[in-house]
């Protein structure tokens, strides 16, 4: 009997060891010997979005056509679960990170501090790329620290109000319009509700989502989340709280599903299942909605409803960064500068997955789907507020969700939840600034 057990244990251990060894050895030749491949300079290009892979491949091909001696190799690592960042951090520590990679605002500052990002300022000055003239200031500022530029803006996302025409038709209510105010939004939701919707169908959803939902209204209302020197949070400001409270009121009025329901089934999934009349969504959701045959024929979108006479929106975007330890720095920089050119931004825009960051390339996104009012995303992007970020953003967002959810569920008032949240969040900031 003991023998049996021993065998099993040994077998198990051997299997585990074998597996570990295999995974350990599996991905050895990332780009160790990768300076030149067949006489060509090889540039590795780290990305995370499968939807954008074809567009990125088109960009690589277009660049290679102009530069015969360069070979761009795309390395895709999924974003989910932080896999992309975990791998990037490990490979940067080991000196083998991709030469060029996507970067988002959440990670920009800590990557800069970690010395992973190449300072592009001088390269840009010497090149014919004029950032100030061709890119929205909000996007440039996201990757600018101490007046040095660490990434070329790639794309941006804003938010707009999607609606399901079938639900509106059935209720006999007029479709939303671009010039809607917040009051129109709430009144129409009430009309939909009064018209008697099918079981499980709601006029709208107010998920606990900072970037898409409550940050736009907080900022439009004159509230704030993070002060300029990133030492204090604004959750106790009554204006901030008003911007959040309007969403909670939608749940209270029964116009939106309650928080528990939206945690079980995401608002996006409900909208895609035809269970929501209206939903605010980021521009990056467009490809997903439009590839869903269940709804793509019956949905359209309008601008974020005006709030207190202001066009509310939060703008955020990715950047192309160059790895400071790259063995082909010059080639990598040249590629990144080209990615910022009108030609590259046009290719990206026509891919239709994202809105290209360059001013002259916004239009291509809307043009990819003339049936939709996609201009709703770009009409007011010049006045959108940049997403507030700092080095501890990931921790702050978690705290925010953890405390605000009690206000969303009605177990605490927003005032109580915000008070506790501010104490915790400010403590995180003081730790960060130490």
């Amino acid at each position: 009997m003991k023998k049996n057990l021993k065998y099993l244990v040994t077998l198990g251990l051997v299997a585990i060891m074998g597996a570990t060894l295999l995974t350990g050895c599996g991905k050895k030749q990332d780009n160790k010997d990768g300076n030149t491949a067949g006489g060509k300079t090889k540039i590795t290009f780290g990305i995370w979005d499968e939807n954008q892979r074809p567009t990125m491949e088109n960009l690589a091909t277009a660049y290679e056509a102009k530069n015969n001696n360069v070979d761009v190799e795309i390395q895709l690592t999924p974003y989910k679960g932080g896999e992309y960042w975990t791998k990037l951090e490990a490979s940067a520590t080991g000196g083998t990170a991709p030469d060029v990679f996507w970067l988002n605002t959440l990670h920009a500052e800590s990557y800069k501090d970690g010395g992973i990002l190449l300072d592009l300022t001088d390269y840009i000055t010497k090149s014919d790329l004029n950032l100030e003239e061709n890119y929205p200031a909000a996007l440039i500022s996201m990757y600018k620290f101490d007046d040095k530029i660490y990434a070329i803006p790639k794309d941006f996302d804003t938010n707009a109000l999607w609606y399901n025409k079938e639900i509106f038709d059935k209720a006999g209510v007029d479709y939303p319009t671009d010039d809607w105010t917040w009051d129109d939004f709430v009144a129409t939701a009430q009309k939909l509700k009064d018209a008697g919707l099918d079981a499980g169908v709601y006029p709208l959803a107010a998920p606990l989502d900072f970037q898409t939902d409550y940050y736009p209204t907080v900022y439009a209302n004159g509230g704030w989340i993070l002060n300029a020197d990133k030492t204090e949070t604004g959750y106790e400001d009554p204006k901030t709280q008003e911007g959040i409270q309007v969403w909670i009121d939608l749940i209270k009025a029964g116009l939106s599903p309650d928080l528990a329901t939206m945690t079980d089934t995401s608002a996006d999934a409900m909208f895609e299942a035809g269970k929501l009349g209206m939903l605010l969504a980021g521009s990056y959701m467009t490809p997903q909605y439009m590839s869903n045959d269940g709804i793509n024929k019956i949905i359209n979108l309008v601008e974020f409803p005006e709030f207190n006479g202001v066009e509310p929106n939060i703008i955020n975007g990715l950047g192309y960064a160059v790895y400071s330890g790259s063995k082909n720095k010059d080639a990598a920089v040249d590629f990144v500068l080209w990615l910022g050119s009108a030609e590259a931004m046009k290719i990206q825009g026509e891919g239709g997955a994202v809105i290209s960051a360059r001013n002259d390339a916004w239009q291509y996104f809307a043009a990819t789907n003339p049936d939709l009012n996609l201009a709703a995303y770009t009409n007011h992007s010049d006045v959108a507020y940049p997403l507030p970020v700092c080095k501890s953003s990931a921790e702050l967002y978690d705290l925010e969700a953890n405390y605000l959810k009690w206000a969303y569920s009605g177990e605490k008032t927003l005032g109580e939840a915000s008070k506790e949240l501010k104490v915790e969040a400010d403590a995180v900031l003081s730790k960060m600034n130490k």
């Binding site: 049996n4 057990l5 060891m17 570990t20 679960g81 800590s110 606990l208 079980d264 953890n402 959810k405």
Partner: protein, 307 residues
């Protein structure tokens, strides 16, 4: 092997042939030993060192002494996650082991199709835990989940099981037990089949019924196996992560009541980029598991039967 054991005490000069054999043996075990050093021992030492440092995302560290531990002792979250973890272990381990013994006993009987049943029960162990968690998450779903549908058929009102702070952890425990039963069952079954038939025959002649035989022969003879299963289950319980990570979202009302020690470690290490603090958490987890395991090895003399 046995030859070498015999020659050892004689302390004579080792022959060339023996030396050759040793070299060969070392080469044979080298992959495993190197693997253990590279992937277990070295990271463990590095992790221990990290716990006394402030380490950023890129492993740039500054020595801070006991700062991480001092902050950790004051962190309410540590006690909350520790509480949740202990609750998880205290419920899943006994329930899981009892169920495994029960199923192993049933499958040890001479009935048709035992191998099919064994395969079915073992399936969860060879299925990706992420996939399992996703499927269960859908079954528990408040709107479309099969659980609420079944309850609805009996006129019982369902709820959002994974968003309710009162039910969420138990729902995750059910998945954890379901996943572990197959593996434990196979080990217990192996143990049961190692028990000599003559004991049962003798007991039957003396007039002992099946229940009595189970409690007087099977269980005592099985104690070494139960001990092994218990050790691995408790360690596994303290390290529970994937099901909770997959099933409980950050905006869930049940977030606080389901976060475990490893979840806390993961967030600090990979979401917040505070690897030093995360290392300290992992050392705490390690210390707890070690203490409990030592305690079990001491206590086993009282109940484990090695005859």
């Amino acid at each position: 092997m046995s030859d070498m054991a015999k020659t050892k005490p004689m302390r004579r000069k080792t022959t060339k042939r023996e030396k050759k054999e040793w070299v060969a043996a070392y080469i044979f075990i080298a992959p495993l030993v190197i693997g253990i050093f590279v992937f277990y021992i070295y990271p463990f030492i590095q992790n221990f060192w990290f716990s006394f440092n402030d380490v950023n995302r890129f492993n740039i560290s500054t020595f801070t002494g006991l700062e991480n531990y001092k902050a950790l002792i004051k962190d309410k979250e540590l006690y909350r996650t520790l509480g949740n973890t202990i609750k998880y272990v205290i419920i899943t381990v006994p329930v899981g082991i009892c169920l495994s013994i029960l199923i192993a006993t049933l499958l040890n009987a001479k009935i048709r199709g035992t191998s099919i049943y064994r395969t079915i029960y073992f399936l969860p162990s060879v299925t990706m835990s992420v996939a399992i968690a996703l499927v269960w998450k859908w079954m528990y779903n408040g709107e479309f989940g099969i659980l609420n549908n079944i309850l609805g058929a009996f006129g019982i009102e369902g709820q959002n099981w994974l968003s309710n702070p009162k039910t969420a952890l138990y729902m995750v425990m059910i998945v954890g037990i379901w996943m572990s039963v197959g593996y434990n069952m196979i080990i217990l079954l192996a143990g049961m089949q190692g028990i000599s038939k003559s004991y049962y025959e003798a007991a039957a002649i003396d007039g002992a019924g099946p229940v009595k035989r189970f409690f007087k022969i099977t269980i005592p003879m099985l104690t070494p196996t139960i001990f092994f299963v218990m050790i691995t289950s408790i360690i596994g319980g303290f390290q529970v992560f994937d099901t909770i990570y997959m099933m409980i979202g950050k905006t869930s009302l049940a977030y606080e009541s389901t976060q475990t020690l490893v979840m806390m470690f993961y967030r600090y290490a990979f979401d917040y980029g505070q690897k030093g603090y995360a290392a300290a958490i992992s050392i705490v987890i390690f210390a707890i598991i070690m203490l409990i395991t030592i305690f079990q090895f001491v206590m086993q003399k009282k109940w484990v039967n090695y005859d």
